[in-house]
C-alpha cells in the first residue's frame, strides 16, 4: 500500500479530525467565549475539506484506484458527491448556531467540535465498502448526534429529544448489527465486494433475513416508515440548528450508505430487497403526508415533510438502475437546499423578545409584517410540494422518470397521487401566512447570517435553480456511474 496515495485520498477526513482535535483544545482554553471563533474556524475547515473532495467528483473517480485499506473504504465520485452535500449542510447548521444559542444563553464551544466529528463519521459512512467501516462511521455520527439533540440540556424538550434519539438509535444500531452479523455468517466476509460475490448465485433464507434486518436498521437512520416514529419528536425537541443538521446531513449520509449497501453489497439480488424498498417508499410518502396534516408546530410539520421526501428518494432506489441512483442524488441535493431554507426560515421566526415562534397558527399575517421572509417560506413550501416553477419539482420529476424507465409505473403513479396529499399541508402554511387574519404578533429582527443563508438557499430552489440542472445532472451521473462500476 502506497501511503502517500492513501493519505492523499483520505485528506478530507484528516483535515476534519485534526481540526476537531485542535478546536477542542481551543475550546478547552478559550472557553465558551471562543465559541464564535471556533464556529467560523470549523466552517473554514469544512470548506477546505470540500475543496479537497472536488477533484474526485470532477474526474469521476472510480475503480480499483479508489479502494483504500484493503477494500474498507472507497473514495470515489459517489462518496465525493455525498460528502459535498454533507459538508454544505453541516456548514449551514454551524453558521446558524451562534445567533440561536446566544439567544438561549447556551452557546458552548463544543457544538462546532461535535458537528465536525459527526461530519467526519458521515464521511466514513458514505465511503464505507465494508460492514465494519459502515458501522464505525454510523456510530461516530450517531453518538455526536445524540449529544447535539440534548444540547439545550436545561430545556426539557431538548433533553427528551436526546434521550429518545439515543434509545431508539441504539435499538436501530442493534438491529443493524444483528443483520450485519448474519450477513457475515452467511457470506463469510464483511466486505461489500465479497458479499456481492457470495450472493451472485442466489440468496438463501438466512441471507434474506439478514438483508431485511440490515435494511430495517438503515431505515431507522433515514427515518423511513415504519421506522420513522422518532423523527417528529426529535426534530421538534432538538434545538433548531441541530434539527437543521439532522434533517439534512445525516439524511444524505444514511441515504448514500443505504444506496451503497443495496446496490453494491446486495446488488446481485435486487429482487430480494426491491419489495422492501418499494413498501418503505410508498409507506413513507403516505404516512409522511397524512401525518403532517394534523400538525400545528412547524418543526413537526417539516419532520413529517422529511419523512415524505425520504419516500420519494427511495423510489429512485427501488428502480435499482444507474439512472435511479443519479435521480436520488439529484433529489438529495435539492432536498438539502430545501431543508436548509426551511429550517433557517423557522429560525428567523422570532417574536420581539427573540424567542422562537413555532406554532403555525402564529404565522398569520406574516406576509404583511415580514414580506421577504414570508415569500421565502412560501417558496420553500411550494418547492417541497413539487409545484413546477420551483426547483423541488425537478427532483420529483427525475425520480419518477427513473422509476418509469425501470418499469415501475404503478409505483410512480401511486407516488404522484400521494404527492397531491402532501401539497395540501404545504399550501396550508402558505394560506395561513397570506390569507389569515393577522394575530397581531410583533416580529423580531434576525441575524444577518440567517438572512444571507436563507437568501442563498431560496435562490437555489427558485426557478433559477433550473440553470444548474445540466451541471447537477452531469455530476450525479458521474457519481452514480462510480457506484455501479464495481472492481
Amino acid at each position: 500500500m502506497d501511503w502517500g496515495h492513501v493519505l492523499r485520498l483520505i485528506a478530507p477526513e484528516q483535515v476534519l479530525s485534526l481540526a476537531g482535535l485542535a478546536l477542542l483544545l481551543v475550546a478547552a482554553w478559550g472557553g465558551d467565549k471562543a465559541s464564535r471563533l471556533i464556529t467560523w474556524a470549523a466552517v473554514a475547515m469544512l470548506a477546505v475539506s470540500a475543496v479537497l473532495v472536488v477533484p474526485a467528483l470532477c474526474s469521476g473517480a472510480e475503480g480499483a484506484d479508489t479502494l483504500l485499506f484493503y477494500g474498507q473504504l472507497r473514495v470515489d465520485a459517489f462518496a465525493a458527491y455525498a460528502k459535498l452535500l454533507i459538508y454544505a449542510a453541516a456548514g449551514a447548521s454551524l453558521l446558524v448556531a451562534p445567533a440561536f444559542f446566544d439567544q438561549a444563553k447556551a452557546m458552548r464551544a463544543e457544538y462546532p467540535v461535535l458537528v465536525l466529528f459527526a461530519t467526519l463519521g458521515m464521511g466514513i459512512m458514505v465511503s464505507a465498502t465494508d460492514l465494519i467501516s459502515l458501522y464505525i462511521g454510523l456510530e461516530m455520527n450517531s453518538l455526536a448526534a445524540y449529544v447535539l439533540a440534548a444540547f439545550l440540556r436545561t430545556d426539557e424538550r431538548s433533553a427528551e429529544a436526546g434521550l429518545k434519539y439515543f434509545v431508539l438509535g441504539a435499538l436501530a444500531s442493534g438491529i443493524l448489527l444483528f443483520g450485519m452479523s448474519l450477513v457475515y455468517g452467511f457470506a463469510g466476509t464483511t466486505s461489500f465486494d465479497g458479499i456481492h460475490a457470495a450472493t451472485t448465485s442466489g440468496m438463501n433464507a438466512g441471507m434474506i433475513v439478514a438483508v431485511t434486518f440490515v435494511l430495517a436498521g438503515l431505515a431507522f437512520k433515514i427515518s423511513a416508515v415504519p421506522f420513522h416514529m422518532w423523527t417528529p419528536d426529535v426534530y421538534e425537541g432538538a434545538p433548531t440548528p441541530v434539527t437543521l443538521f439532522f434533517a439534512s446531513a445525516p439524511k444524505v449520509a444514511a441515504m448514500a450508505l443505504t444506496m451503497r449497501v443495496a446496490l453494491d453489497a446486495f446488488g446481485a439480488q435486487v429482487h430480494v430487497w426491491q419489495q422492501i424498498v418499494i413498501f418503505a417508499a410508498l409507506a413513507s410518502i403516505i404516512v409522511g403526508a397524512l401525518g403532517a396534516i394534523g400538525q400545528s408546530n412547524i418543526k413537526r410539520l417539516l419532520a413529517y415533510s422529511s419523512i415524505n421526501n425520504v419516500g420519494f428518494i427511495l423510489i429512485g432506489l427501488a428502480a435499482a438502475t444507474p439512472a435511479g441512483a443519479a435521480a436520488m442524488l439529484t433529489y438529495l441535493a435539492i432536498y438539502v437546499a430545501m431543508t436548509v431554507a426551511g429550517f433557517v426560515a423557522v429560525l428567523m421566526l422570532k417574536d420581539e423578545n427573540g424567542d422562537p415562534v413555532e406554532a403555525i397558527a402564529d404565522l398569520a399575517g406574516l406576509s404583511r409584517e415580514r414580506r421577504v421572509l414570508a415569500l421565502c417560506i412560501a417558496a420553500v413550501m411550494f418547492s417541497l410540494a413539487g409545484i413546477p416553477p420551483l426547483f423541488g419539482f425537478w427532483g420529483k420529476f427525475v425520480v419518477f422518470q427513473a422509476a418509469v424507465q425501470a418499469g415501475l409505473i404503478p409505483l410512480a403513479a401511486i407516488g404522484i397521487a400521494a404527492s397531491v396529499i402532501g401539497a395540501f399541508y404545504y399550501l396550508k402554511v402558505v394560506k395561513v401566512m397570506y390569507f389569515d387574519e393577522p394575530v397581531g404578533k410583533a416580529w423580531g429582527k434576525s441575524d444577518w447570517v440567517h438572512q444571507a443563508l436563507l437568501l442563498i438557499a431560496t435562490l437555489a430552489i427558485s426557478p433559477l435553480g433550473y440553470l444548474a440542472t445540466k451541471c447537477l445532472a452531469s455530476y450525479a451521473d458521474k457519481a452514480a456511474a462510480a457506484l455501479f462500476h464495481l472492481v
Partner: protein, 205 residues
Amino acid sequence: MIQVIAFYLFAFMVIASGAFTILARNPVHSVLWLILAFFNAAGLMVLCGAEFIAMLLVIVYVGAVAVLFLFVVMMLDIDFAELRAGFMKNAPLGFVLAIVLLMELLLGVGAYKAGALKLGTASGAAATPAGVSNIEAIGALLYTRYLFLFEAAGVILLVAMIGAIVLTHRQRTGVRGQDIAKQIARKPSEATRNVKPGVGEGVQL
C-alpha cells in the same frame, strides 16, 4: 499433569467464587467474589492458549467493569431487607426461569452426547498465522489492515467523552472550591493589619 492440576484449581475456584457471588449477604462481598471469579476465568483462558482474552478479562472486566460495580454498589443505598421482601411475590417467575434453564442444560448435554458440532478451523485470511502468539497476530492486524478503523474507533471514544462532559459539566455557584494559586499569591499585607486598640475601648474586627 501440572496443567490438569491447574485446570481443576482454576475451574473449582471459578465455580466456588461464582457461588459465593450470589450467596454473599453483603453486596460488596459479592462484587469481590465476582472479581475473584474473573481472575480465575482468566487463568482458564491462559490454559487454553487464549492469552489475549485472559488479559481482556483482567484489564476490562476486573479493572473497569467490576470496579465500576463496586462503586455503584457502595454508592447506592440499597435496602436489602426490602429487596428480599419481594421474594415470595416473584418466586413463581423465578421457578419458571429455573425450569427453562434446567431444560436448556438437559438439551445441551443431550446434544453433546449425540455428537458435538463440527465447527472446523479457520482457513485462508481468517487463519491465525503459525508461530505467532495471538496477541501479536491481533496487534499486527489492528495496526496495519484495520489501522484506519482503529483510529476512527478512537475518535468515537473521544466523541463519547466530549458528549458526557457537555451534557453533565456545569459551573456550580455557591460552592467554596480551593484555589491554590490564589492562596499562594496572598501577601501578608492583604491578610493582616496592625491595630493599636485603646485601653477600655474593646477591639474592632
